[in-house]
């Protein structure tokens, strides 16, 4: 997208320019507000004229997002935002396309379009608001809800093993996979920037608190006392350190990560895994995506993987150009007269 900026007048927009005239209608206290603010604050930095942004969503509380953005937008149907976005981006690769979805919208009904857009690698940015619940339909378990979760549709506890959204994305050839938290504004803004910077489909999962139906789902990651032990900030090239006094770290035993204490004297920072976003093989990212399966482990937050490959739309445009170069701009006269033609007199 950066070419876009240079092609146009330099734009100097502010967060306010990206706020539409519509009242924001999430529940007071909903984590969605913070994500909206982070996006509105980040976009002006990207140097893209406002009219080139398109926000596309499905259905859900989170999917109301486009209405609040003073950009082009489509609030589509449940689960299909990624499919609509594929058409938008293919039709006009010059647009900066952002997909906003929920854990239900993106991974339940929309799971197939999700994995397919990722493998095709359209240069679009997916932000999935994961509140581990269906908000808009008033509180059923979602594909990311934990086993045993009691909700309206699982009065005796859910028996579905949840997806790890990042694992699904990686299994589907995800080139950019990142995680952030609604409450962590700065980090979130950075992740939005990074999503944008990646050429190809970027997938950003944001842990989002639903105050009404799943309040506190991520409190371990956001509350002051528990956060240091539960959040592992990833930085490219940096060892995996966490804890209130950076006293803990992650080492690898075979393929299995292990939490070690840096105070015990057995391990030093030099023994720890060093994060590498750029590994061609997604193995390391996959390990990260599954790390928090075990309560002893922290949740890795940040960019798991950032490895570009050619985008779908560039392949498409190349084929069009090659065809035009080879056969000339399409000519109806020629097309009509292909094959065996005869004259009746």
């Amino acid at each position: 997208m950066s070419e876009v900026a240079t092609k146009n007048e330099p734009v100097k927009l502010t967060a306010k320019d990206f706020a539409s005239d519509q009242d924001v209608r999430w529940c007071p206290g909903c984590g969605d507000y913070a994500i909206l603010a982070a996006v509105q604050r980040t976009l002006p930095e990207l140097g893209i004229p406002r009219e080139k942004f398109v926000f596309i969503s499905g259905i859900g509380c989170s999917s109301r997002f486009p209405y609040y953005m003073n950009t082009y937008g489509m609030h589509t149907i449940h689960g299909r935002a990624t499919a609509f976005a594929s058409g938008v981006k293919a039709a006009n690769p010059d647009l900066s396309v952002w997909i906003v979805t929920g854990d239900g919208d993106g991974l339940s009904i929309g799971g197939n379009h999700f994995i397919h857009i990722i493998r095709r690698n359209f240069d679009v940015n997916i932000i999935m608001f994961n509140n581990e619940i269906y908000g808009l339909t008033k509180g059923q378990y979602s594909p990311t809800s934990e086993v045993g979760k009691v909700t309206k549709s699982s009065p005796f506890g859910s028996i579905d093993t949840p997806f790890k959204p990042t694992s699904v994305a990686l299994g589907a050839e995800g080139g950019f996979v990142a995680v952030s938290i609604d409450r962590d504004t700065k980090h979130l803004q950075e992740m939005i920037r990074r999503s944008h910077a990646h050429k190809g489909t970027s997938f950003l999962e944001v842990y989002q608190n639903c105050v009404i139906f799943n309040d506190g789902a991520f409190s371990a990651l956001t509350e002051k006392e528990s956060k240091p032990d539960n959040v592992l900030y990833l930085e490219h090239g940096k060892p995996l350190v966490f804890g209130s006094e950076n006293q803990k770290g992650i080492v690898l035993d075979g393929f299995t990560p292990k939490v070690v204490s840096l105070n015990s004297g057995n391990y030093s920072v030099n023994d720890l895994m060093v994060h590498d976003e750029k590994l061609k093989d997604p193995t390391w990212a996959t390990i990260l995506s599954r790390m928090n399966r075990n309560p002893e482990f922290p949740h890795p937050i940040g960019v798991y993987r950032d490895v570009p490959r050619p985008t779908y739309e560039s392949g498409l445009v190349n084929q069009l150009e090659a065809a035009k170069a080879k056969k000339g701009e399409g000519n109806l006269e020629k097309l009509f007269n292909e094959g065996d033609v005869w004259e009746n007199n």
Binding site: S20, Q22, P49, R50, E51, K52, V54, F55, I56, I59, P66, Y67, M69, N70, T71, Y72, G73, M74, H75, T76, I77, R80, A83, F84, S86, G87, V88, K89, A90, A91, N92, D94, L95, N112, H113, H116, L316, Q319, L320, A322, A323, K324, K326, K327, G328, E329, G330, L332, E333, L335, F336, N337, E338, G339, D340, V341, W342, E343, N344, N345
Partner: protein
């Protein structure tokens, strides 16, 4: 030896053999040559559902029927005059539709025990009296092809694959066809393999010469060229015409065409054809499923392309929700449905007209959209263009119906001059000028606004919208008004379309009403009835929703109304509802087009009773 030459007005030939016997190719060559010799014609390919069923089986028989003539040809022929049967199964499957005193050419070599058993013949039909009523020519096609190629020392498989050209050559001779176009075609098609070129041309000529030399055939035939309107022609299938029509509309609208599609029989060829047209700026996208196909097409329309999606019935069943979204967001979109036998998976390779109700009613909520149907293979071009015209002018999704018969069938297409085709003026809103995303123009269409246009940023969505602003609105009055606005916008298109075509007088005893691919069969039968002095006319309805304004009057000007359909009476039901007119139904759901004779006898029955 000199033979008689008889001049025929028309003839119908069916080529039939194993899926691997190349019958589609043989039939197509015969068709193209006849077309180039000036005949009018119509074709009906008939594939098995299996890709390549085991040789010799009944269900593996592949057929290609072609009806050529020196007069206007409306159908691929009720029965055929000539059957070329490459094996016993092909004979068995097709014999019942061979006309009285018809000619049968069989590949005698294939009538061995194994094949006879496969076909369920206890005794060879060539030996008993099964075929006494016909003129049978037993030709050792395999053997003779082998002889013709003997010195080439080709693998047996290659020789075997050439035998269809022998058969074609013989039929070329029989109907006084010119071999040159096919020889040219062979040279081009197999240009990378000189041996194959040689083998196929030799086989073709051997077959032709067999006709010249042998005593078996007493007569040969000629079919003079038809008096088609002056102009350039090509033979075209419905699917190809459809693809070309869609591209033409995009070009005439100054839009890029975006096709979101998922393969499905019998629609896939449109995807294939459009995929080739990248130099026309056509972006074809093979989606993961039909929902993604239509959704991507709507996304592309939002982004300013002409969004198209092509499919068949099961695909439309999946697209319903997204089509409703296009209705709500008022974006142009053409949904092409090549109907096939239903319900469910049904008869995927067979033709049917059973998706009309679905096209009109098949979405939740009040989701009106224009529905148009093509009526002949070449008409798919015009129907596609018309569908696009309406979609972009009225900012609406349009459903365009065709069917398996039109899709694969072919006829001569009078090639239009691209300049003579009208422009489809599309204007994107470039500046506000007091307009809003849901402002209305004189035909109640909202403006089309391309993302990327400064100062026109806006959001659309599937929740009810306030008129003008397009913002979400839960206001009861607004909802009511919008429901009726969307409906009247579409219904008013009735003022902007051609009147329905009436053939014959404007009043009379019987009106035969049809839509879609029954056009030819109805026309032929009505023509026949009229030639006998019967007061019968034909009303063809191309725009199914809304219907042209003349339909009401025409319907009421006849004593009786007969509606032949390849379904259980869907148009009939709609006519009854719209016009409170009683209808007589003729319904055939055989996966096969109507025969004109079937409609003729129904006409007689109705007039009698």
């Amino acid at each position: 030896m000199e033979k008689d030459v008889q001049v025929l007005e028309d003839v119908t030939i069916r080529f039939a053999g194993d899926s691997g016997d190349g019958m589609q190719l043989t039939g197509t060559q015969f068709t193209n040559v006849s077309a180039m010799m000036g005949n009018d014609l119509a074709t009906l390919p008939d594939f098995p559902a299996e890709i390549r069923a085991p040789a010799g089986t009944l269900y593996g028989v592949s057929g290609f029927q072609v009806h050529i003539g020196s007069t206007k040809i409306y159908t691929p022929g009720d029965r055929f005059d000539v059957l070329v049967a490459m094996n016993p199964a092909a004979l068995k499957v097709n014999l019942k539709e061979l006309g009285p005193n018809g000619i049968i050419i069989v590949n005698e070599d294939q009538f061995n025990e194994k094949n006879l058993k496969y076909a369920g013949y206890e005794v060879s039909p060539l030996e008993d009296d099964t075929l006494v009523k016909y003129r049978v020519f037993k030709v050792k096609i395999t053997y003779l092809t082998g002889l013709a190629l003997e010195d080439m020392k080709l693998p047996a498989k290659t020789v075997d694959r050439s035998k269809n050209f022998f058969a074609l050559g013989l039929v070329f001779w029989l109907f006084s066809r010119d071999m040159e176009p096919t020889i040219d075609w062979i040279k081009d098609k197999f240009k990378k393999n000189a041996e194959l070129v040689e083998a196929n041309i030799r086989s073709l000529k051997a077959g032709f010469n067999y006709g010249v030399i042998t005593e078996a055939f007493q007569a040969k035939y000629e079919i003079s060229s038809a008096k088609l309107p002056k102009g350039k022609y090509r033979n075209i299938t419905g699917n190809t015409a459809m693809a070309i029509g869609l591209v033409t509309a995009a070009q005439k609208a100054g839009l890029e065409l975006f096709l979101g599609s998922y393969p499905i029989t019998p629609a896939s060829d449109i995807l294939h054809d459009l995929s080739k047209l990248k130099n026309f700026g056509v972006k074809s996208f093979q989606a993961e499923d039909e929902i993604a196909a239509v959704a991507s097409a709507i996304g592309a329309s939002f982004a300013g392309s002409l969004g198209i999606t092509t499919t068949s019935g099961p695909g439309v069943s999946l697209k319903g929700e997204a089509i409703g979204y296009a209705v709500m967001t008022e974006l142009p979109l053409v949904i092409v449905n090549i109907q096939r036998g239903g319900p469910s998976t049904g008869l995927p390779t067979k033709t049917e007209q059973s998706d009309l109700n679905q096209a009109i009613y098949g979405r939740h909520g009040e989701a009106p959209l224009p529905v148009i149907a093509a009526c002949t293979p070449s008409d798919c071009f015009d129907a596609a263009f018309e569908a696009c015209r309406i979609a972009v002018k009225y900012m609406t999704p349009v459903i365009l119906l065709s069917d398996g018969y039109l899709a694969n069938g072919s006829e001569p297409w009078k090639i239009p001059s691209p300049e003579a085709i009208p422009d489809l003026h599309v204007e994107f809103l470039a500046e506000k000028n007091g307009k809003q995303p849901y402002s209305r123009n004189e035909v109640d269409a909202r403006p089309w606004i391309k993302p990327g246009t400064p100062n026109l940023e806006h959001r659309i969505g599937g929740i009810e919208k306030a008129n003008n602003s397009g913002n979400i609105s839960y206001d009861p009055e607004n909802h009511h008004n919008m429901v009726f606005l969307r409906k009247s916008k579409v219904e008013n298109i009735s003022k902007d379309i051609q009147p329905a075509e009436v053939y014959g007088d404007l009043t009379g005893d019987l009106l035969v009403v049809g839509w879609g691919s029954t056009y030819g069969a109805i026309r032929k039968s009505v023509e026949a009835a009229r030639s006998e002095g019967k007061k019968v006319s034909h009303l063809h309805i191309r725009h199914l929703y809304p219907m042209p304004e003349n339909v009401a009057t025409v319907l009421r000007s006849f004593k009786k109304v007969l509606v032949p359909e390849m379904n259980t009476g869907q148009l009939a039901g709609i006519l009854r509802s719209n016009y409170l007119v009683d209808t007589i139904q003729q319904n055939k759901v055989h996966g096969q087009p109507f025969k004109a004779a079937e409609i003729s006898s129904k006409i007689e029955e109705v007039l009698r009773g």
